[in-house]
């Protein structure tokens, strides 16, 4: 059960078998996706027809449209990045404000606000999506009917997608940054102020550097959650689809291995992001 207790001979073996099965379950789908990005066949299915890079570099006149000439897919990848950048900046900014608000100020209804900030995390994404869709559309109707103004950004489209994703990702950023600010040693700040530093200088040279790991961490998480979001986006999307929506549409129709190619690309990007963050985390732990 634990290493310090006498273990029967089979418990170690059982642990190994279990781990092997578990890891297979975890990685089989991912390895399959990666493998079939290189299969020389029009569909991602066995049997194996040989190795090809067509699904990356093939062009339309070469009978197979590879990832790098599939402008629709590349466009949606770009859309996802733009949306994620917006959501990330907004979320980290409001997360930082909220952290200071909740950790440094006392006011009436603070407890209520603290609970309200968690609420977006318990509402299913689909419902966040439809509520924002309905509200924005009704506002747009209202402005159109009574004032004769058409607000394009209230109609399904990227601005609404950004707002919809932001509505719950902001809550995650708030939690992460608040948790770090709570552990901050206030005496450091007081020392700086006693020694004549201005509030702004204290913020810039002491508090923000201290918060940096939480800011970077929540930015990475926000970017990833925005990039992967499906439920809320599905309800709010207009003409320009982000990547998840585009892939979903193609998967329903039975797509070519170009989807495997873009998936492999995403896996590599995620791995690079994860490794960079972990490296940074390690170095910080060692230096402390």
């Amino acid at each position: 059960m634990i290493p310090s207790l006498p273990n029967t001979w089979w418990s170690g073996a059982l642990t190994r078998v279990y781990l092997l099965c578990f890891l297979t379950f975890l990685f089989l789908p991912l390895l399959t996706v990666a493998l079939f990005a290189f299969n020389d066949a029009p569909y991602p299915a066995p049997p194996w027809h040989g190795f090809t890079l067509d699904w990356f570099f093939g062009s339309a006149d070469h009978r197979r449209t590879g990832l790098f000439s599939d402008s629709e897919l590349l466009g949606s990848l770009g859309t996802s990045v733009v949306v994620a950048l917006w959501v990330t900046s907004l979320s980290v900014l409001i997360g930082l404000c909220n952290a200071f608000l909740m950790e440094r100020f006392e006011f009436r209804a603070k407890g209520l606000l603290a609970v309200l900030m968690l609420v977006p995390l318990v509402i299913p994404g689909v419902i966040l999506g439809i509520s924002i869709l309905a509200f924005a559309s009704r506002l747009a109707e209202f402005f159109n009917d009574y004032m004769g103004i058409e607000f394009e950004f209230l109609r399904p489209g990227l601005p609404l997608v950004v707002l919809g994703q932001f509505s719950y990702i902001a809550a995650i950023a708030t939690l992460t940054i608040s948790a770090r600010l709570r552990r901050f040693d206030r005496t450091l700040e007081e020392a700086a102020l006693n020694l004549g530093a201005s509030r702004l200088a204290t913020l810039q040279t002491i508090i923000l550097p201290y918060l940096k790991p939480a800011l970077v961490g929540s930015a990475a998480v926000s970017f990833l959650m925005s990039f992967e979001n499906f439920n809320t986006t599905l309800m709010l999307v207009g003409a320009n689809s982000p990547l998840t929506i585009m892939m979903y549409g193609r998967m329903r129709e039975g797509a070519t291995p170009v989807l495997n190619a873009v998936s492999l690309f995403l896996m590599l990007a995620s791995a690079v992001l994860a490794l960079t963050l972990m490296r940074k985390g390690d170095r910080r732990n060692e230096s402390n």
Partner: protein
Amino acid sequence: MNDGVQSARWVTRLSLFLLLAPAVLWLSALILIPHLDLAVLSLRERIGPRQYSVSVAQYKTFFAEPLYWHIFVRTAIMSIVATGLTLLLAFPVAWIIAKVLSGRASSLLFVICLIPFWISETVRTLGWMILLRESGVLPHVLVLLGLTQQPIEMLYHDATILVGLVYTSLLFMVVPLVGSFESLDNSLIEAASDLGASSRAILTKIIIPHAAPGMTAGCIVVFMLTLGNYLTPTLLGGKNSQWFTEQIYTQFITRFNWEQGAALGFLLLALSTLLVWAGLKLSGQRFSDVMRRA
């Protein structure tokens, strides 16, 4: 002196107001008001072109139409089963990470468990589709091994949906479980074992009571995510998925019947809230603690 105190108070007031504004704007404009608006929308009925009256017709339709509540109950039961299976699968792994392995091996396994969740759910589902569909990898392998004559369709079953849901949710169970196992003192287990407790007794009398908060946190998050999932059931279940979020999508986007869609949305929200509340009550936990843990 008095002026100084007064101006300092003004600065505090002003900064409080400036920090409060974005939070209030975020929560009211994107969460509170849209949901109130959705509630209003669900409580009205179209009686003529651009004419509406207050009514509970949308909710009545839900209860009168067996299809709706059949799918509703089915989604709830499938979500509960998926949550239970996720707990069963994640429990041993979390234990191995927290207690059996130590040092580098333990953190390595933890990181390995997290990797798939850095990758989009769409990609993971694509993987399962390539593995399980009739022309896919597993049916092909079964034929090669001589276990089946013809390739069998492994997609579009309830079991397939469950596999996909469990796979997608694992991380949210493993992380809180590892956290609560790590805080368990090994000497408690050693003492129990020295005093002659069986493995089963150690599990039910020490480990599970200690890990209960983490287990609750994991179960609540997994249940909510599963209930609100759309991608996995529709892709792995196809036409047989019958998932409630799909009904909401159909009403809202395909049929443009927003009143009905809003009512269905509220019913899903109510179900989710109710079961989360029941979970908290049963385990004697507080909402804010659970969210922090998760």
